[in-house]
C-alpha cells in the first residue's frame, strides 16, 4: 500500500516538474536525439560499414539505451541519493512512514517508466533514421522466421552467428520488433535486477558518501557492457563469462536486443540469457535489500543518514 502511495506522489511530482519545465525536457530530448544520431554515424563511419549496417547501428543504439537505463537507475541510488542527502530531502523521505526501501522502490519505478518513455522515443527515431538509410543499400543478411522462431543465418560483424552456441541468432535489419508481452517481462526483470544492484550501491552511499566516483565508474562500466552485450558472450572464457553474467545488465541487454531486434518473441524465455537474468534477479534483489537495510541501520548509528 505504501509503495502505491509513494508511487502516486512521485508520479504527480514528476508530471508537475516535467510540465513546468517542459522546454528544458523537450530540449534535452532533442539534444539527446541529435547526439545519438551523430554518435551512431561516427561509429559506423569509423568501422567503415556505412549505411549498410543499419542493424548494427540499431543494435548499438539499443545497447546504449539499455546502458543509459542501467546508468540512470544505479545513478538514482548513488549520485541521486547523495544529492538528496545534500538537499535534506533524504531526511524527509526517511521520515515518511513507509521506510526508505519502499520509497526508493517507488522512486526507481517512476524513474524507470520515465526513462523507458524517453528512450523509446529516442530509439524509434534512431531506428527510423537508420532503416531509411539502409533502404538503398543491399542488406547483408536476411532475418528468417520459421513458425515465429528466428533461425540461424551466417553473417559477419558483431551479430555474427556461431554454430552450436547457445541461442538462436540472426542478423537484425535495423527495425524494432514490437513484442509487448516479452518486452514487458524483460523490463520488469531488468528493473528488479537493476534496483537490487542499485540498493546495494545505495546502501554503501548511505554510509560512505564519498564513494560517488566509484559508483560513477561502475555505472560507466555497466553502460559499456550493455552497449557491447551480445550472445557472443558465450564464446568468452569461463572466468570472463562468469563475471559478465554477474553484471546485472549483461543478460538483460542480450535478451532485450534479441527480442527487439531479432524478433525472438516469447522464445526468449527459453534462452540461457533469460535464465541468467532470472538468476540475477534472484541474487541481486535480496542482496541489495539486505545490504541497504543493514547500511541504513549503520548510517543511523553513525549519524550520516541525512548528512553529506
Amino acid at each position: 500500500m505504501g509503495f502505491f502511495l509513494v508511487l502516486k506522489a512521485e508520479v504527480v511530482r514528476s508530471m508537475i516538474v516535467t510540465r513546468r519545465y517542459w522546454f528544458a525536457t523537450m530540449t534535452a530530448l532533442l539534444v539527446a536525439c541529435v547526439m545519438f544520431y551523430g554518435f551512431i554515424n561516427i561509429f559506423l563511419s569509423g568501422l567503415g560499414l556505412g549505411a549498410s549496417m543499419a542493424g548494427v547501428a540499431v543494435d548499438r543504439a539499443l545497447g546504449l539505451v539499455i546502458g543509459i537505463f542501467a546508468f540512470s537507475i544505479v545513478g538514482m541510488f548513488s549520485s541521486g541519493l547523495a544529492g538528496m542527502a545534500r538537499s535534506g530531502e533524504l531526511e524527509q523521505v526517511y521520515m515518511s512512514p513507509h521506510g526508505l526501501i519502499t520509497n526508493f522502490m517507488a522512486r526507481s519505478a517512476v524513474a524507470t517508466v520515465l526513462s523507458i518513455i524517453t528512450w523509446t522515443i529516442l530509439l524509434m527515431f534512431i531506428s527510423a533514421a537508420f532503416s531509411e538509410k539502409g533502404d538503398g543499400a543491399p542488406a547483408p543478411t536476411q532475418t528468417a522466421h520459421a513458425e515465429g522462431v528466428p533461425t540461424a543465418t551466417p553473417t559477419k560483424g558483431p551479430v555474427a552467428d556461431v554454430e552450436g552456441k547457445p541461442g538462436v541468432k540472426s542478423a537484425p535489419d535495423g527495425k524494432i520488433h514490437a513484442n509487448p508481452a516479452a518486452v514487458s517481462v524483460l523490463f520488469l526483470l531488468t528493473y528488479f535486477s537493476m534496483t537490487g544492484f542499485g540498493f546495494m550501491v545505495g546502501g554503501l552511499v548511505l554510509v560512505f558518501k564519498q564513494i560517488g566516483q566509484v559508483a560513477v565508474i561502475l555505472r560507466m562500466a555497466m553502460m559499456a557492457v550493455a552497449w557491447k552485450a551480445s550472445d557472443g558472450l558465450y564464446d568468452l572464457p569461463l572466468v570472463l563469462r562468469s563475471i559478465a553474467h554477474a553484471v546485472p545488465v549483461t543478460d538483460a541487454a542480450i535478451c532485450l536486443k534479441l527480442v527487439l531486434l531479432q524478433n525472438y518473441g516469447m522464445h526468449i524465455f527459453i534462452h540461457p540469457s533469460f535464465m541468467f537474468l532470472l538468476l540475477n534477479v534472484a541474487v541481486w534483489t535480496p542482496i541489495g535489500l539486505v545490504c541497504f537495510k543493514a547500511m541504513e541501520n549503520w548510517a543511523r548509528s553513525r549519524g550520516t543518514l541525512g548528512a553529506f
Binding site: L5, V6, K8, A9, I16, V17, Y94, H98, G303, G306
Partner: protein, 346 residues
Amino acid sequence: MSAAAAVELCDVDKIFHTHHFFKKHEETGKRRVYYRKTVHAVDHVSLEIRPGEILGLLGRNGAGKTTTVKMISGLVKPNSGTVLVDGMDVEKKRLKVLRKIGVVLEGTRTCIWPLTPLENLSYFGNLRDVKGSMLKERSQELLDFIGLKDKMNVEVRKLSRGQKQRLAICIALITDPPVLLLDEPTTGLDVQSSRAIKDKLIEMTRQRGKCVLVTTHDMNTAQEVCDRIAIVHDGKLATCKSTRDLLGLFSDHTYHLHVDRAPDLAPIRALPGVIASDTLEDEGTGPRVSVRFEIDDRARSAALYAVMDRLQRDGVVLRSITHAQQNLEDVFLRITEKSLNIGGKS
C-alpha cells in the same frame, strides 16, 4: 514513562566516532595515517515533554541539540537508553512513531523548490498517507493558518527564507501530528518572520494542544514561547526547569547597590559569602555595585549586611538596593559557564 509525557527520553546516550586518514591530529598537531575521534554528543540525557507544552532545548553549537531531535525522529540511533513517543519505543516502532511526529530540521531544506507550497503539501501528504479531500482541506487550512495562502501557487524557489520556513512547518503539520520537533526554526530570519513563527507556535500549542520541542540559539524566542527550558552542555542536561523558575534561578542572589561613588572592590570580594562583585557606571544614576552572593539564605543575608557595613566604613553613600533582573541569556551563560567549570575540574 510518566503517563502524561508525549515524548520521553530515558537515559539516552549517543557517542559518535569519526575516522580520519592522513590528517593532522587535532590535539597533537602531528600528521597521522589514521586516528579515531570520539564525540559524546548526548550524555545520558533524560527529559520529557508533556502534551500542550513548548519545551525549549538550548545549548551551544555542538551541545547535542540536533542529535537529540534526530534521535526522537529516528534519524539517529542512540547507543543506549530509550526514546518514547506517545508511549512507543522509537527503535521498535519507528514507522508508527513517525505518524505521530512532525519534524522541521535546520534550514529551509524540507521543501521541494520546483513545486509550489500547495504542491509540496500535496506531495508530502501523499507520502504520509493523507489523501483526497482531507489533504485538500488540511492544505488550505494550514496555508491559511501560517499566512501563506496568497503564495500557495508560487514556486517555493521564489519565496523568501521566512516563507520557506513557514512552509516547512506546514509540511510537518500535514498529518496533524501531536508532537512537533523544530530545529532552530527562527535562525536567519528577519524580525517579522521570526515573530510570525513564534506567534504560530504559541497559537498551535495553546489552541491545538500540540506538544512542541524547539531547539534554538535565540534566547528571546526561548524566553517568549517556551513553557519549560532544558539547557544542554557538552551533551549533558545541565538543567530543565520552567522558564519562570529558570529566570529566577540566579536573580535572588544577585543585588545591585546604587552608590554615590565607586568603592574599592577588593575588600568586598574578600567578604565571606560574596562570590563576585563588579562596578558599573550607569548614566544618570551614578555607579552601581553588582554583587553576587551564595545561594544559601543565611550566608547571603550575612554577606549583604557585611557589604553594607563595609561601604559605610569606607564612607560610601548607599542610595538604593535592587534585585538583579536576569534574562535568559544571563542564566544560560551562567549555567553553561558553571557546567564548563565543573567539566574543567573533573
